[in-house]
Amino acid sequence: MTTINTQHLRYYPQKPSEVYLYGTCLVDSFFPNSGIDAITFLEKQGIKVHYPQGQTCCGQPAYNSGYKEEAKAVALAQVAQFPLDIPIVIISGSCGGMMRHHYPELLDDVPEIQAFCDRIFEFTEFLVQVLNIQLTDNGQSEKVALHTSCAARREMGVHITGGKLIKQLKNVELITHENESECCGFGGTFSVKHGDISAAMVNDKSNNLDKAGVVRYVSADWGCMMNINGALEYQKKSLRGEHIASYLLKRTQAQGAS
C-alpha cells in the first residue's frame, strides 16, 4: 500500500544547470564511492555539481539523542555552506528528512530557513521528480530488492521514487521482500543504546532480504546499509547492499565500461 501524505506534496523546480551535493558524514569517511558515483551520475545528466568542502554532518545524531543545542550549532554551520539558490541534492533520505523537516523548527530563528529547506532533495526524488529521468539499462538481467529507509518513506515520502527508478531498468526485476516497510533497526544511537532490540531487528531484516532470492539489494541510505550489510557479513552471507547512486551509474554505463 502506498502512502501519500499531504506533508510530502511539494513544488518541484525545472531541471537546474547546477546543484549542490550533500554527501553526509557517513559517506564522507566510510562510503565515499557513493558520493563520487552520485556526482558522476548527475554530471552525466549535464548538471554541474558543487561540493562545498565545508560540509560536515546534518546534526541528526545529536538531535536524535536529545542534544538540541549541539545539533543546532552543527546545523547552522551546514546552512552557511550552501549560499547559492540552487537545489541541494542529498544522498540519504534520513539526513534529507533532518534537513528538510526538522531544520525549520530547530533553526526557527534563522531568517528564511524555510527557503533553504525547500532546496533539499533526496537523490532519487531529484532524479524522478525534478529531472524526470528516463534510464537506459545496459546491464545483465538480475533480481534486486529495495530497502527504503524509514525517513525516506515516512518523512520524505520518497520510498516510491527508488522503486520507480529500479523499474525503469528493463533487465532488472524488483523483488519485494517480506516486511519491506519495516525498520532495519539502525536508528543511529538507538543501535547502541538498545543494542539487543536493534540486533533483533537487523537480524529479521537481513533474513528477509536474504530470503528474497536476489543478487543484491539497493538503498538510498548508507545508515541502514551499514547496519544490514554488517549483519549479512557477520552471518557470512554473500548478499550485500549497494547505494542506488552507484547502482544506477553502473547499470546505465555503456556495456563494457565497468
Binding site: 562510503f31 563520487i36 546534526g59 536529545g66 524509514c150 543511529g188 547502541v192 538498545h194 543494542g195 557479513e233
Partner: protein, 488 residues
C-alpha cells in the same frame, strides 16, 4: 494527599519500568513469546489495512479526528465542567481524582457504602493504571475481570500486554494450560470455541451475582452527559446493565464536546484497532435506571482521573499525547513492540503510546529508558488515527531527559534525569568538531589514515554485525581530485 505522592500502586509500574533493560533481555530470548507477538501483530496490521481501502477517506478522517481531539483539548476544562453538569442532571454522579490512589479510594468507598463484595469489571486500562484489582482485593472485595483477555491475564496473575488484546502474548495452548491449573472441572482442550465457552459459563454466573460493575469509557460526551463504551463481547454491557451499581473510570482527556464528534472518532477507533468497520456493540449510557424501567444500573458514577495528564496538558507540544483514543495501532505497527512484547515496557500502556504517556504518569526517572527505545522509524505516527506525532514527542522527551537543570521552569517530573556528564561532554565535543569544517576535515583525514587501527569489536554493535571500516580517503578529498581531473 498530593498528586505526586508515590503510592504502592505507582511504584509497582515504576519498578518494572525501571527494569526495562532486563525485561527486554528476558523477553527477546523467549522464542514462544516472540512468535505469539509476531503472529498477532501481522494479523492486526493486515486487518487494519483491509479496513481502510481508500487512502483519501483515511487521510480525511485522520485530519478531521485530529482536529476534533485538538478542539476538545483546547476546551478541556470547560468541557469537563459541562460534562459534570450534564451527567449530574442526568442522575450520574461525577468524582474527581488527581492521583491513582484517590481514584481507588473513591471507588472503594462507593462499593463499601453499598456493602458490595463482588465486582465484575469490563475492560478498563485506566483501572489498570490505578491497579484497582490489587487495591480492592486488599479491602476484601472480589474484583473479577470479565473481558476474556483480561480474565485470562488475571488468572495468570499478569497484566495486559496490549491495550486492546490483553492476552495477546499467550497462545491457545498456554491458555488451556492456565485453565487446567486454575479451573477445577476443566476438561482439557485447546479448541478456542470451547475455551471461550468455559470462560462464558463461569463469567455469566458472576455477572448474575455481582453487586458492582466497573468499566472504562471510550468517549464521554459533554453536550449530552453520555458515557460511550466500545466492545465486542457484551461484558461491558453486562457490567453496566446487570449489577445495581455501575462505576465508570476514565482519564480526563476522554471528554468530547458534541455527539457529532463521536461517529468519526468511533469509525477510526474500531478500524485502527482491530480492522472492524464497527465493533459488535456501541453502548451509550446517559442515565441510571429511570422510574418504570426494569433493568440497568440504579446508580451510575463516573471517576475522572488526572494522574499526570495535566502535566502533559501544560505543554503545547506534549499536549498532543492526550489526543490518543487508545486504539493500539501504534503498538501493532511498532517493530520494537513486535519484538519485545508488551510486558517488557513495565508500564500499564506499552508500545509507542506507552513510551510517550508513561513518563507523565510515573515521571521520567523510572521511565528514562523508554523514550530512547525507538529507532524513530515513524510507523506509529503514520498509522495514528488522530495524528499524534509520536516520534517527535519521543524526541522531545529525550530532550527533557538530558536537559541541564537550571532550576527554572519544570516541564515534567524527572526532567534531566537521563543527563550524564560524560555523554553531555561527548556531544559538546562532537558539536565542536562538526561545526568547524577545518577541525572536521582534519579529524576525518586522520580517521581514514588510521583505518587499519579501527577495532574489529565495537561493543554491542559487533555482537551481530561486523564493524564498518573507514575508507582510504574521504569524499572531501576524492571530490577535490575528481574536480581537478577535469571532469565537467
Amino acid at each position: 494527599m498530593s498528586a505526586h505522592q508515590v503510592t504502592p500502586n505507582e511504584s509497582k509500574y515504576a519498578a518494572s519500568a525501571r527494569n526495562f533493560r532486563n525485561n527486554v533481555a528476558r523477553d527477546l530470548n523467549n522464542a514462544e513469546l516472540r512468535e505469539n507477538f509476531h503472529g498477532a501483530m501481522h494479523y492486526l496490521r493486515d486487518k487494519r489495512s483491509a479496513a481502510f481501502p481508500q487512502q483519501d477517506e483515511l487521510e480525511t478522517l485522520r485530519e478531521q479526528c485530529k482536529l476534533i481531539k485538538q478542539r476538545c483539548l483546547a476546551k478541556l476544562p470547560y468541557l469537563l465542567e459541562q460534562l459534570e453538569e450534564n451527567l449530574t442532571s442526568n442522575g450520574i454522579k461525577v468524582h474527581w481524582a488527581e492521583s491513582t490512589s484517590q481514584a481507588n479510594d473513591i471507588i472503594a468507598t462507593l462499593i463499601e457504602e453499598k456493602s458490595g463484595s463482588q465486582v465484575v469489571k469490563g475492560k478498563s486500562m485506566v483501572s489498570e493504571e490505578t491497579a484497582l484489582n490489587d487495591f480492592l482485593e486488599q479491602r476484601n472485595i472480589e474484583c473479577l475481570e470479565s473481558d476474556m483477555g483480561e480474565y485470562i491475564v488475571q488468572l495468570a496473575k499478569e497484566h495486559p500486554s496490549h491495550i486492546i488484546m490483553p492476552a495477546i502474548h499467550q497462545n491457545k495452548k498456554q491458555v488451556a494450560d492456565l485453565f487446567k491449573q486454575n479451573i477445577s472441572d476443566f476438561s482439557y482442550t485447546t479448541d478456542v470455541d470451547e475455551l471461550i465457552n468455559v470462560g462464558r459459563n463461569i463469567l455469566r454466573d458472576k455477572f448474575c451475582q455481582a453487586d458492582v460493575g466497573v468499566t472504562g469509557v471510550n468517549f464521554a460526551v459533554a453536550e449530552t452527559g453520555t458515557l460511550c463504551l466500545v466492545e465486542n463481547e457484551g461484558n461491558g454491557q453486562m457490567c453496566t446493565t446487570v449489577p445495581p451499581l455501575h462505576i465508570a473510570i476514565t482519564g480526563i482527556e476522554k471528554v468530547v464536546e458534541m455527539l457529532d464528534d463521536v461517529p468519526p472518532l468511533l469509525s477510526l477507533l474500531t478500524r485502527s484497532a482491530t480492522g472492524q468497520i464497527m465493533s459488535t456493540y456501541f453502548n451509550m449510557i446517559s442515565h441510571p435506571r429511570q422510574i418504570g424501567e426494569k433493568d440497568g444500573a440504579q446508580e451510575v458514577h463516573l471517576v475522572l482521573l488526572d494522574n499526570g495528564r495535566s502535566q502533559a496538558f501544560a505543554d503545547e507540544e506534549l499536549r498532543q499525547t492526550l489526543q490518543c483514543i487508545r486504539c493500539g495501532a501504534c503498538m501493532n505497527h511498532c517493530p520494537v513492540y513486535t519484538r519485545i512484547g508488551g510486558h517488557a515496557y513495565g508500564t500499564v500502556y506499552p508500545g509507542p503510546i506507552g513510551q510517550i504517556v508513561s513518563p507523565h504518569m510515573l515521571g521520567l526517572e523510572p521511565t528514562k529508558d523508554l523514550p530512547t527505545a525507538s529507532s524513530l522509524c515513524g510507523a506509529c505516527g503514520e498509522v495514528c488515527p488522530v495524528k499524534i506525532p509520536i516520534p517527535k514527542l519521543l524526541l522531545r522527551l529525550r530532550q527533557e531527559s538530558v536537559k541541564k537543570q537550571d532550576g527554572n521552569s519544570q516541564v515534567m517530573k524527572g526532567e534531566g534525569v537521563g543527563r550524564s556528564n560524560i555523554e553531555a561532554m561527548v556531544w559538546k565535543a562532537w558539536a565542536g568538531v562538526h561545526r568547524h569544517s577545518s577541525i572536521y576535515n582534519f579529524s576525518m583525514w586522520w580517521l581514514t589514515r588510521l583505518r587499519k587501527l579501527m577495532p574489529s569489536k565495537l561493543g554491542v554493535w559487533t555482537s551481530v554485525r561486523t564493524a564498518p571500516k573507514p575508507a582510504a580517503k574521504t569524499l572531501h578529498e576524492r571530490v577535490k581530485k575528481h574536480q581537478s581531473s577535469g571532469a565537467k
